[in-house]
């Protein structure tokens, strides 16, 4: 059984209840607004199927639920399926933990990997997560999610090609 080690951690504090943050992480009504139009599909239980889909139905990410403890902890295996260049990447784990912090919530996102993943490949997540989670925070606190344009992560794509996974 490979051991998954945390490689990227992002912490944000959100003025919302744990239940509201949980809802924003697990329902499409919210993910479409802060996660670049992706809908989340979820069987809400340990072992349940998980997917993030583009508006045309294409599965961007697929996996299964490996932690389900509302409203405290939600984790999935994260297998990128699209675009094709990313599909050879081993799946990682994405874990969300929600903890009370005064009248706010501390949300911790951890991306864990089972192999010696190079920095260039981690760079994709390091570009993406701050934008996704900043958007989530703005959505819950102001009702509006920002439109953050992002270029495809060139270094990550190049590194995946060079690794010939």
């Amino acid at each position: 059984m490979p051991e998954f080690k945390p490689k990227t951690v992002y912490v944000t504090y959100i003025a919302a209840t744990p239940e509201k943050v949980w809802e924003a992480l697990t329902s499409s009504e919210f993910t479409k607004k802060y996660f670049w139009d992706r809908s989340i599909e979820l069987e809400p239980k340990l072992g349940g199927a998980f997917a993030l889909r583009l508006p045309d139905g294409t599965a961007n990410v697929q996996g299964k639920v490996i932690a389900w403890d509302p409203p405290r902890k939600f984790a999935v295996t994260w297998g990128v399926k699209w675009p094709a260049e990313f599909a050879t990447l081993p799946e990682c784990h994405v874990t969300y933990e929600i903890a009370p912090a005064d009248d706010a919530v501390r949300l911790t996102m951890t991306e864990s990997h089972s192999w010696n993943v190079p920095e260039a490949i981690l760079s994709g997540g390091r570009m993406g997560w701050p934008a996704v989670l900043s958007g989530l925070k703005s959505l819950l606190e102001t009702g509006n999610a920002p439109l953050i344009k992002m270029e495809p992560p060139k270094d990550m794509i190049e590194a995946i090609k060079n690794l010939k996974l």
Binding site: V11, T12, Y13, I14, A15, A101, D102, D103, A104, R106, R126, P130, A131, S134, G135, K137, S138, E141, T142, N144, P146, L147, I148, K149
Partner: protein, 154 residues
């Protein structure tokens, strides 16, 4: 940029202008609200001394302005003053502000030249709370409760 040493990097997107964000990071009327009642004592030019003042009058951290290019980039040398972490010496702290549509992308990079820095470990826990509170202040008008006041036991 050297890969040796200890570093913490944090990126946050805030719906505001670079000018307003720059002001919030440097002006007392803002920092008092989201940065635990602290103010910065600084003339904001290269070579000027810089101090982060705790509300009871103690100096929290001190250093110097190394680079300043408002509202894009600020680099400070930064040494803790009020705890044992003073012994680690000067860190280097960079704010990079980049407009992105109606948002500003703020990158905070805080570095020590040596490995295993406890100072960097401590600021790694502090920055996400301070910067989240800054974002709430600028987007909603209210900072987060957790960072309104200097902690009583510190």
């Amino acid at each position: 940029m050297s890969e040796a040493g200890s570093s913490f990097v944090y990126v946050i997107y805030i719906r505001t202008t670079p000018e307003r964000l720059w002001r919030a990071l440097t002006a007392p009327e803002f920092t008092r609200q989201f940065w635990c009642e602290t103010v910065q004592d600084c003339e904001w030019k290269v070579g000027a001394s810089w101090k982060l003042m705790i509300p009871d009058g103690r100096v929290g951290d001190a250093g110097e302005v190394l680079e300043i290019d408002p509202p894009r980039r600020l680099v400070l040398s930064w040494q803790n003053q009020f705890t044992d972490l003073r012994a680690e010496g000067h860190s280097r702290m960079t704010y990079q502000l980049e407009p992105q549509g109606d948002m500003v992308k703020l990158t905070v990079r805080h570095e020590m030249p040596h490995l295993g820095s406890t100072f960097i470990e401590k600021v790694s826990n502090g920055w996400p709370a301070i910067l989240s509170s800054l974002k709430s202040l600028l987007e909603t008008g209210e900072p987060l409760e957790a960072t309104r006041r200097w902690p009583k036991d510190m």
